[in-house]
Symmetry: C2
Subunit: 388 residues, 2 copies
């Protein structure tokens, strides 16, 4: 519950300003009367609010549209390009970055691959490069950013330091928050990649508008991200979702069923075997099908634990293996049904490789939402948006 702080007349103006901004952010070219109705205000009041907002650069007029009855109305839009956010996904093989405007409209994205074996310095160099290229591609500089989220594997502390990364040993200890802060303006948030992928699904993916979501990262790693009450669940010490650490959950050994498949040519890289298993299973190979079934069984133990604990509306199957959802989904759902009191819907991720970076963008936007568009503060731009 937020503190109900009483106020001043100017506070009312603040609230009304926010209501107008909110109305325009929901649906963009809107006439004055439409805004007034949406914000539940009278026309003159709306007019004055809009005049102020226009002077401050928050909204702009759109050319009036002809062809309708009566005097043509002025139309306003929210200037989503007043500020931008950046989402960066630092993965094992790839570094991605996406720039979006305040409406979440993507402006530019960039990616570069990096060797899994790359050291800390080299990986950070790639990060810098991708950020620079992404900003340049969008025609921006770091100073135009209002918030940035960096996604990484492993545990991250509140300061933005990677406390522990299992997949990338050299990564442990890197102070990502500090590093990226030097390159962009505005706050830099650092967050676990799996959680951000979950967030992305509730934003632009298959979990849109779901309140409670369990996101499964099914890939060479297995992980989970939780969205509870529409918000990312981090936990007290940012360690939520690590249910796979419990041996009884089956996630530690799950991939072994796939990697250990005997149908692949001898000497194949174990990681490559996985793709072959799914392909073979798709073709009806009985050994491959059995391996997939064993994998799914182990995966579903941990998943069932999460489902039973949280009773989500939806389970999203993401990660690299979600490309093979056609083979996985049906047996997975059957296993859940066996174990759960109420079986939620299961859907494969629709976002592909961009999921994490998208989630990072959304996370940055959510941060702005709380600190800039929040009742309690009123509109508070990091720097007053410059006029065109």
């Amino acid at each position: 519950m937020t503190e109900p702080l009483g106020g001043n007349l100017s506070r009312l103006r603040q609230l009304n300003t926010l209501a107008v901004v909110h109305a325009l952010r929901r649906q963009s070219p809107l006439t004055l009367t439409e805004v007034a109705k949406a914000a539940n205000l009278s026309r003159p009041a709306t007019e004055e609010v809009l005049r102020d907002l226009e002077a401050q650069g928050w909204v702009a007029q759109v050319d009036p549209v002809a062809g309708s009855m009566g005097r043509p109305a002025r139309r306003y839009r929210f200037r989503a390009d007043a500020g931008h956010v950046l989402g960066v996904d630092i993965g094992g093989h790839t570094v991605r970055a996406i720039v979006a405007d305040l409406d979440g409209e993507l402006r530019h994205s960039e990616r570069r691959s990096v060797s899994v074996a790359a050291g800390r310095a080299e990986r950070l160099r790639v990060v810098d490069k991708v950020i620079a290229e992404c900003l340049a591609g969008a025609g921006l500089t770091g100073a135009d950013l209002w918030a940035t989220t960096v996604a990484t594997t492993g545990f991250v502390d509140a300061d933005g330091r990677v406390v522990l990364s299992v997949g990338l040993p050299e990564w442990t200890g890197v102070h990502l928050g500090e590093h990226v802060s030097g390159r962009v303006s505005g706050p830099v948030l650092v967050e676990n990649d799996c959680r951000l992928a979950a967030l992305a699904e509730t934003w632009r993916g298959v979990a849109r508008y779901a309140e409670h979501v369990v996101y499964l990262l099914a890939g060479l790693r297995t992980g989970a991200g939780l969205v509870i009450d529409g918000r990312l669940h981090r936990g007290f010490a940012r360690a939520a979702g690590e249910i796979g650490a419990l041996p009884e959950m089956g996630w530690i050994r799950a991939q072994e069923h796939l990697r250990g498949w005997s149908g692949a040519p001898a000497g194949t890289d174990p990681d490559e075997v996985v793709a072959l298993v799914f392909a073979a299973a798709r073709d009806g190979d009985r050994g491959a099908l059995a391996a997939v079934r064993r994998y799914v069984r182990d995966l579903s133990i941990g998943a069932s634990a999460l489902v039973l604990a949280l009773d989500p509306q939806l389970v999203v199957l993401g990660g690299g293996f979600s490309r093979s959802a056609d083979v996985l989904l049906e047996p997975f759902h059957r296993e859940l049904e066996k174990r759960c009191v109420r079986t939620p819907e299961v859907l494969p991720s629709a976002l592909g490789d961009d999921a994490v970076a998208l989630g990072a963008v959304k996370h940055a936007l959510d941060h702005l939402e709380q600190h800039i568009f929040d009742p309690g503060n009123g509109l508070a731009a990091p720097e007053p948006p410059q006029r065109p």
Copy 2:
């Protein structure tokens, strides 16, 4: 995020009224100037708001206190007795009820035992009796209630019907919401007992002010209740917390280790054995200690799953066995430490047998908080509180 709805001048007054009520609810006898400061308002504005509130019966004046310098100030208090809430806990052996005022101050509580084997009708009769006695003891009638929460085992649907109760077979299908609605005014909420016990701990128990809490019901049944972001987590279909249904979690077989203890005299009721085991363990009996250790190990598997998934600040050990926390706590904590990435604090429940009924009271109060003291509606009493 709530819809920011713009407003009217009177909306500002609404907000200020709420701010004043909030200030008075937090700390009660307050002078006018103190209220003004707490609500961030000027003195004249506060005065007018208080005048209105007094006329409507929401606040009352307290006798001014002498002995200080200057003209003695009027002092106001929130009239917590303007309305009341009822919490009812329908357990296997006992039915409890608590009446509290709007501040959550307990006014009266009542309990009656009922046979585990009692049928539906008989149990409902006891419920009616306890409710009637509790109201009478507080000097109230059902019409004085603004909200009621009924706690029961098993799954409850949104309508207040018990969909499935494992412990009390005859209980499945009973429409508790409807039944109790006939006896009290105001909304009747029906909720799972375990969840309410968790809520109680965050209110008056050891988990005060913790944001994320896992509550374990350790007793003849094993269950869990989750508080996430300070709010009861119910899940999409009100089936959250049922992680014990998964065999891998160990909760199904956990009690067997205690019941099957060979140290009890032959023919002892299995339920009674449990108490003996704990007593023997306390005295250092090696067999009993081993049985307890085995129980704790199984209990901690499911607990670890919840902890790993949610990363709570605190685990509360409640339920009947929490009376033997001296024997359980230390090995339990050790087991958690073995399995969890970050081990939260573990504390035994401090509320005893009243936990569930207290949680029911709190749940009813929370409901009022949302519907009566919520910005968005302004103060909306179910019926305007009558003047004294």
